[in-house]
Amino acid sequence: MGRASLNLGCLMMLCAAALSACGANNASPAAAESSSSSASAPPSKPASPYLALATLPDWGGVWDVTFGPPQPGAAPPGQPKLTPAYQKQWDQYQALNKKQKGLNFVSEVASCIPPGLPQSMTEPYPIEFLFTPGRVTILIETYGVTRRIYTDGSTLPESPDPSFQGTSVGHWEGDTLVVETAGILPETSPLNGINGHSDKLHITERIALVNPDTLQITTTRTDPGVFLEPYTTTTDYKRHRDWKIMEYVCEQNNHDSLDSTGNAAFSLKHTPGG
């Protein structure tokens, strides 16, 4: 925030000076002579807050999660330290995971319910960043999710209404965007293998380029109901300048679901789509 605000201020001053110079030039003697009723310079247009965006890092293109090893220097995630109830879940998940060769298991997403933050950020389809004054918007292709991160100096509300992606505010520390999120629906998953969390889940994301085409997001989960200490993971994203985010309507032709016992179900009924 500090740097962006400073740059915004500088740009606004420069711009105001430039506009004022322009105005002085326009008030040529000929113009002044031809219009006695408008002797003063035309009102200068206020500097656009969009000018400040030019100082932000280039995160153009779209970004796809790389499932390879983290960048050199990035610490591999350790085991999360969990409260007893969630430790039991975690152990059961690890045992199942071992039996099922590391594959994913049944969850609400089979029925087109989108994942909440932070799981929404590590889907196998790309994400895109948009910068506008006072806001960073993240478009997540999977489930067509939009995240709005307010960088206008807003602070998190005391008790935001719960939602899948929560309520986010952010600020810039140099070229790193730091995002704080609260108010995430308690029935969502904060980590593969953990189902549900308390209403105190807080996510901190530090987002920055680690090389020209690799964006790294370090995600820290804090929730005294689940984690005995904050748990951090790091994910790398590869830039694809020639890709475009596509439409994703989960309900269009979904054959997957959960049955009443919580098992994965698969429909072989014909559907009209496509």
Binding site: F67, Q89, Q92, Y93, L96, K99, Q100, K101, L103, N104, F105, V106, S107, E108, V109, A110, C112, P115, Q119, T122, E123, P124, Y125, E141, T142, S189, L191, N192, G193, I194, N195, H240, W243, M246, E247, Y248, V249, C250, Q252, N253, N254, H255, D256, L258, T261, G262, N263, A264, A265, F266, L268, H270, T271, G273, G274
Partner: protein, 127 residues
């Protein structure tokens, strides 16, 4: 296959927890077990969240049977050489798939060999 199905059913009965997953579940397929089918494309659905192949396959009794195979999304496949018309009704193809655990004629398609002999990969190599 049956014992694994029983195991999953037993575990799910004991643990009424719906596990978090990165995306849609693959739990209903024998993931990683490659099987092959040859037949005629009836319909190719270029749809979200999954593409779908309907294919008519000769059976052992001289008749035919319709199979339904789910695949990756158009967004994933479209970035890797597939398109709306990669498969067309009437195309005679061979395909590799992971079968459904419950034995019904369905599964998840892994790659397709088109009439001109081209192989179209339909899953990330990390799988």
């Amino acid at each position: 296959m049956k014992s694994r199905q029983w195991l999953m059913a037993a575990l799910c009965a004991i643990i009424p927890v719906r596990w978090a997953a990165a995306h849609h579940s693959t739990a209903m397929f024998e993931w990683g077990t490659e099987k092959t089918l040859s037949g005629t494309i009836e319909k190719y659905q270029w749809t979200q969240p999954h593409t779908f192949i309907w294919i008519v396959v000769p059976d052992t009794s001289g008749g035919t049977r319709e199979w339904g195979l789910e695949g990756m999304s158009p967004s994933w496949l479209g970035r890797r050489g597939w398109g709306l018309h990669s498969l067309n009704p009437g195309d005679k193809v061979r395909l590799v798939y992971y079968p459904l655990k419950d034995g019904r004629p369905g599964g998840f398609y892994v790659r397709v060999i088109t009439p001109d002999g081209k192989t179209l990969e339909a899953l990330p190599t990390r799988n």
